[in-house]
Symmetry: C2
Subunit: 472 residues, 2 copies
């Protein structure tokens, strides 16, 4: 096998209709943010695990590297090929079978190409909850969620994608199938290969299926908005809500004043139910009993927060429509930012306790270093995860500002993140975009172990080379 006769071999495996070349590859070759465009040798779309394995073996024989791709909604340029025209995109999107639902075991076993929202629906139809929820849920795939250990809005209660997965099926770099589709809550038979593949962004193996946890559907879900003067008050409110609601607290999002001003500017039709404050917190409570019970508990919590001076004002959504409107406000922030122009995104995590100090220090440093800069700060405060984004000064040419300052801004932010015990990639992963950051900022001991693992499992650097960790 050589690269020249690889395409015919792939057509033999998956059928000619499922090997795309030339212009047919276009939608697979650029990333969701439209920041990069690669050039693939071809796109291959296997329909089952055995075909994935055969494709990997053929590529391995030809010495051609593979870029696995799910919904291609990633934000770190991890699922598009380089510009060489020599990489094969392996799209999992045709693999969309829900293989099994085990209600008594509260699990479902699914193909990697299933779209996240369809899995939420499948769980719901079975009377249960699959809680993973994030902006791209209408088009991202569960395989991509697993490969990037996606986070989202329910992590506070249910964990990242990692915590939602009990078992995996993976095609190795050797084109073998590891059948690890267990629905077990306890299994201590050897090294944790499952979690090694989760979050490895397609560089160690190709996830083809998963057994996922399901949860009881709450009897009622309540949403509230609360206004705080300071981030320290937001953190105080989080502690109070955790103590009062325990696992009933399923969402705790924070939105800075300027983030909501951008929403008001670009989406004036969206109602903002409370007068502007420095910080707005979106709380979500899930209750196993009833809406009456949930509302009483929620209102009692907010009253206590008012009494303790943690919040200045609050509004509880009266119905599902109001609840959706509150979430829609939150979800409109990235879109409002895009409307406002190019910006620099930081997906960071910190210990919750250190967030107020961090934000105060870094806000001041950015404003001093880059006068006029506008700071868009929002995110999953319950998990310590902020989307701390930097918008060019009003009236400045954003592209020019980014070209001149993006690197310096990133350095300033990421240095401060690490100094505060944080992470420079909370839920978006590394991909190509943050490869240099990883090489510079991860400890040499960790990098050495990562390289050793990569070389052990993918010795010919066949799978998504140049992503996450660069060898050599």
């Amino acid at each position: 096998m050589t690269p020249d006769n690889l395409i015919p071999a792939l057509r033999d495996i998956v059928g000619a209709a499922n090997v795309l070349t030339d212009d047919d590859c276009a939608e697979y070759e650029s990333d969701w943010r439209q920041r990069v465009r690669g050039k693939a040798l071809c796109v291959v779309r296997p329909g089952c695990t055995a075909e994935v394995a055969a494709v990997v073996r053929a590529c391995a024989q030809a010495g051609v590297s593979i870029v696995p791709q799910g919904g291609n909604t990633g934000l770190v340029e991890g699922s598009v090929p380089d510009a060489s025209g020599e990489q094969v995109i392996l799209s999992l999107r045709r693999m969309q079978t829900v293989r099994a639902i085990d209600a008594a075991n509260m699990t479902m076993t699914v193909d990697a190409g299933c779209v996240l929202r369809s899995l939420q629906d499948v769980a719901s139809e079975a009377g249960m909850l699959f809680p993973l929820s994030l902006g791209a849920e209408g088009s991202c795939t569960i395989g991509g969620n697993l490969a990037t250990n996606a986070g989202g809005t329910q992590v506070l209660r249910y964990g990242n994608t990692r915590e939602l997965c009990l078992g995996l099926e993976v095609v190795t770099a050797q084109g073998e199938v590891w059948s690890g589709l267990t629905g077990l809550r306890k299994d201590n038979t050897g090294y944790d290969l499952r979690d090694l593949f989760i979050g490895s962004e397609g560089t160690l193996g190709i996830i083809t299926g998963a057994t996922l946890k399901l949860f009881p559907r709450p009897a009622a879900v309540m949403t509230a908005l609360a206004a705080c003067d300071t981030l320290a008050q937001c953190v105080g409110l989080l502690g109070l809500a955790q103590a009062r609601l325990g696992a009933g607290l399923t969402g705790f999002e924070v939105m800075g004043r300027f983030a909501l001003e951008l929403v008001a500017k670009h989406f004036p039709q969206l109602q903002q139910p409370l007068p502007a404050a420095s910080w707005m917190v979106l709380l979500e409570q899930s209750d196993g009993e009833s809406e009456t019970h949930a509302r009483a508990l929620f209102e009692s919590l907010l009253e206590q927060a008012l009494e303790q001076g943690l919040i200045g004002d609050a509004a509880v959504a009266e119905n599902t429509t109001q609840s959706h409107a509150l979430w829609h406000l939150r979800e409109s922030i990235p879109l409002a930012q895009a409307e406002e122009g190019l910006n620099i995104k930081h997906d960071i995590a910190l210990p919750v306790s250190r967030i107020p100090d961090f934000v105060e220090a870094i806000d001041a440093a950015l404003r001093a270093g880059f006068p006029g800069v506008r700071l868009v700060n929002f995110g999953h405060l319950g998990d310590g995860n902020l989307h701390y984004n930097v918008q060019a000064p009003e009236g400045a040419a954003a592209a020019d500002f980014l070209a001149r300052h993006e690197h310096a801004v990133n350095t300033l932010v990421y240095d401060a993140v690490l100094a505060h015990g944080g992470s420079f990639s909370a839920e978006h992963g590394i991909g190509s975009l943050k490869c240099d950051e990883l090489a510079q900022r991860k400890s040499p001991v960790a990098l050495q172990m990562m390289k050793a693992v990569k070389q052990a499992l993918d010795p010919h650097n066949l799978l998504n080379p140049g992503r996450v960790i660069r060898l050599g």
Copy 2:
């Protein structure tokens, strides 16, 4: 450095008082079940992470392998040396510092040698809960819990030790320190080294510290006992309790009739509050609101279970004393078994949905194959984890029975476990005891990946050789 001058070198590192030889090693050389006794070159007791690293480097230079040891309460012969007299036991027990508690972040950072119960107490004194709980909690160490990914009675709600850990500090096989003590809920910067070390039983690195999750302390904890005629009813009760209580269901233990008969025989002073039934379920509910709220919810659940014919009888503990008495019954089963004589233990996990069929089939097969055999079945049904143990026939010489039949019994049980999609080691790990089972029963693809990872991180097979996976 040679083996001959290693002991003086170790004395230089940790002080002469912390290098034990000859008879002083005895308590470290045999396992908790007193099934094996090894012979160590010495026991070395470092007092800090830097000393652990220096000890590993010295042993590596001398080509002497290391057996890491915490509380030495494991059940699979994983923390005692072989009989060669050439291995060094590295005991973490002197490292008992609680390095930090971060209340707002709900984390604590601790040394690996901290005893589990002391960490429960530290969390409690800080007004929070560290939920890991298991029989050996008075003497096991958190490092050992992490190295074996220990389970216990609260997994249903809070997960295994793996799910309770956010960050690790590890000394590698090269004697370097990986400082991964993050308190972050989200961190996607490279491969999941943390979970690779957790559950690797000291074969990939030596865990020296950890950052652990804390939880809000429940306002009330309730306990109940319920009687079921069949295991299918127990599974039905589990589903109902999960639907009604959600995350409030923090314990769901099952006890077979013969297991409780053994308790009655050997501990007649322990009251059994319900008339004997085929199966007793111990339910625990944790409530964030109040005892009044908890009791009303619990009683409503049990009434519904009675109406649905899932249970025949039930008793809710009226106070903490009664609650402890119910747990004491459950915890007395292993001790009653030991009083009854030698037995064959199986720590298995199955999808909850398959447990009734599995137990019916395997009970019949064992009774047919080994007439008179007595089956002690109990465990964490909420996690699908059974301690399915086999006691010799009444009046038979137990040692003789085990010598003749243990292997055949194991084969029969483990074959059936795998046929039902289960695990032959749910929460006890592999150690030396189940190494052959792992080699025979794990898929060749998984074994090959495990070997590759072991060779990548510990190329000279220095750390706990012969445990978990055998090379070559």
